[in-house]
């Protein structure tokens, strides 16, 4: 018996029929919707490469059953930019050299977007390292990632004022 679910993904409604309840949100995004920006690293919640926003909160999409998320509002890395204009976090990652191979980057960026939205006021470097600890970078680009998040929160607060 197929399970029917609807998900809003990057602003667009998707109706899906799942053969059974096993697919995670990660597998639905990549294999069913074709949004391959969200990466599968460990598939066990340990690396953060699959981080997306569910109803505005960052979660590991590999540890979320899609069927349980019926009606949820999902944002993936493909949904951040406004046309050709990058999201401030994306722009900050590029300008601060926040990656090397790039595999963990979509998860890092989505986690940073979630991190900044969770906070009142600017985070210190120590708070950024703690707040981003659920995202591993095999290349060790952590110094650039920290600088990018630091920069992004400034950009976003300046945007908010203008």
């Amino acid at each position: 018996m197929a399970l029917r679910i609807s998900l809003k993904i990057n602003g667009k409604m998707h109706e899906l029929a799942l053969e059974d309840a096993r697919p995670t949100l990660l597998d639905v995004l990549r294999e069913r919707i074709g949004l391959t920006g969200t990466k599968k690293g460990c598939d066990r919640g340990q690396c953060g490469a699959c981080t997306v926003l569910v109803d505005g909160r960052r979660v590991n999409s590999c540890l979320s059953l899609a069927v349980s998320l019926e009606g949820a509002d999902i944002t993936t890395v493909e949904g951040l930019a406004d046309g050709e204009t990058l999201h401030p976090v994306q722009a900050a990652f590029i300008e601060n050299d926040g990656f090397q191979c790039g595999y963990c980057t979509p998860g890092q960026i989505m986690s940073a977007v979630g991190f900044i939205s969770e906070r009142d006021g600017h985070a210190t470097a120590e708070e950024i390292r703690e707040g981003m600890s659920g995202n591993l970078c095999r290349c060790g680009a952590y110094a650039g990632i920290q600088d990018a998040v630091m920069d992004a929160q400034l950009r976003m607060s300046n945007e908010g004022k203008s």
Binding site: L3, D20, A21, R22, T24, D43, R44, G45, G48, T51, R57, R58, V59, N60, C62, L63, S64, L65, V67, S68, S111, G114, F115, E118, T124, E126, E127, R129, E130, G131, M132, S133, G134, N135
Partner: protein, 349 residues
């Protein structure tokens, strides 16, 4: 992953009824359960999704002043709740010392309480594990066991309960509300978890169909709000299980300890309330010498279950550190590195 039936429960009653069928498990945040299912060590026939049940996600103060936290409250929401931060700060610190931000956004209070006691041999289906299947034996006994239990273990199982959150709950004497096929009941945290016996795996006192609906933090716990800490030692500064951890809560007047609550994490198959150590502290001078005596009392019954004798000394040290930090006062603001001995403020150095 093995296939399973999926059912979304609309009420506690329908959830309990559905889960009374053998092979059923509740699904909430999924962060522990799906991991275990992907590893193949949990193979339920049926998932009962409790995420849509109305009213399980509330935090409210009871008539007796206790704080009632619904089982579906997410860890991150609980950790930043102003009442929890003000009245039970060590609980908030322990929540934030556990897992990652992504996991805390999904993981629930009930799921954290029901976290599986486990070790790497439990995860490896090619290893013998009594916890996975009683009678297989325990490969951890002759294996990599540097992080296994030093209290309350038997040769049946030497795995530890991994939760940070449950450690201050044990210290506070918190309770859980349970609805089951036979109605409602309350259990203390201490009674919720069962230690391994001879031929008996560690687990919980819950039966098929039993659903934790809320956690109750007793009003009496508020008296420790000014001096309460949770501290843990781990392989890396963030996002790692405790090797050992401690919750310490104190009331101090005229340089003497009026009341103390202590619990240890990472040492046993349950969060370990250190009542003997509390007795040592009650009425004692608030000094390092007293904390040392308390730590010795807390670990008096400890024994290595393998290459982990160092954990006994580490547990004493983290307990002393947590006591000194609690005595110095709860930090006015949550530390940037919650539960960490690093950058923990000048009082902890």
């Amino acid at each position: 992953m093995k296939t399973f039936d999926y059912q979304r429960a609309e009420s506690v009653e329908t959830a309990v009824k559905a889960a009374s069928e053998p092979g059923s498990v509740f699904y909430a945040g999924g962060t522990n359960l799906l991991d275990l299912m992907k590893a193949g060590v949990r193979q339920p026939d049926r998932l009962i999704d409790i995420t849509r049940i109305e009213g399980l996600d509330r935090i409210e103060t009871g008539k007796d002043g206790s704080l009632r936290i619904g089982a579906m409250v997410r860890n991150s929401d609980m950790a930043r709740h102003p009442t929890l931060l003000a009245e039970y700060p060590a609980v908030a610190e322990a929540l934030l010392a556990g897992a990652s931000a992504q996991l805390r956004n999904a993981a629930t209070v009930g799921g954290n309480l029901m976290q599986q006691t486990r070790c790497s041999y439990f995860y490896d289906r090619h290893s013998a594990c009594n916890l996975r299947e009683m009678g297989q034996g325990c490969d951890a006994l002759d294996g990599e066991n540097g992080k296994h239990a030093v209290l309350g273990w038997t040769k049946t199982c030497i795995a530890v309960h991994p939760s940070d959150f449950c450690v201050p709950l044990a210290a506070l004497g918190a309770e859980v509300e349970v609805t089951g096929p036979d109605g409602h009941r309350r259990l203390t945290i201490d009674d919720l978890y069962t230690l391994p016996g001879e031929g008996q795996a560690p687990g919980t006192a819950l039966r098929d169909g039993d659903l934790i609906t809320a956690l109750i933090l007793p009003s009496g716990g508020k008296r420790f709000a000014a001096r309460a800490r949770y501290m843990k030692l781990r392989d890396r500064t963030s996002y790692a299980f405790a090797i050992v951890s401690a919750a310490a809560m104190l009331q101090i007047g005229d340089g003497r300890i009026k009341d103390a609550r202590l619990a240890l994490g990472g040492v046993a198959a349950k969060p370990w309330r250190a009542t003997k150590a509390e007795a040592v502290l009650n009425g004692a001078e608030a000094s390092e010498a007293s904390y040392r005596k308390a730590a010795d009392a807390a670990l008096a019954d400890a024994a290595p279950s393998g290459d982990n004798a160092h954990k006994i000394e580490l547990a004493k040290r983290i307990l002393i550190r947590a006591l000194k930090s609690a005595a110095a006062g709860t930090p006015p603001k949550m530390p940037a590195l919650p539960g960490s001995v690093f950058a923990a403020g000048k009082e902890a150095r």
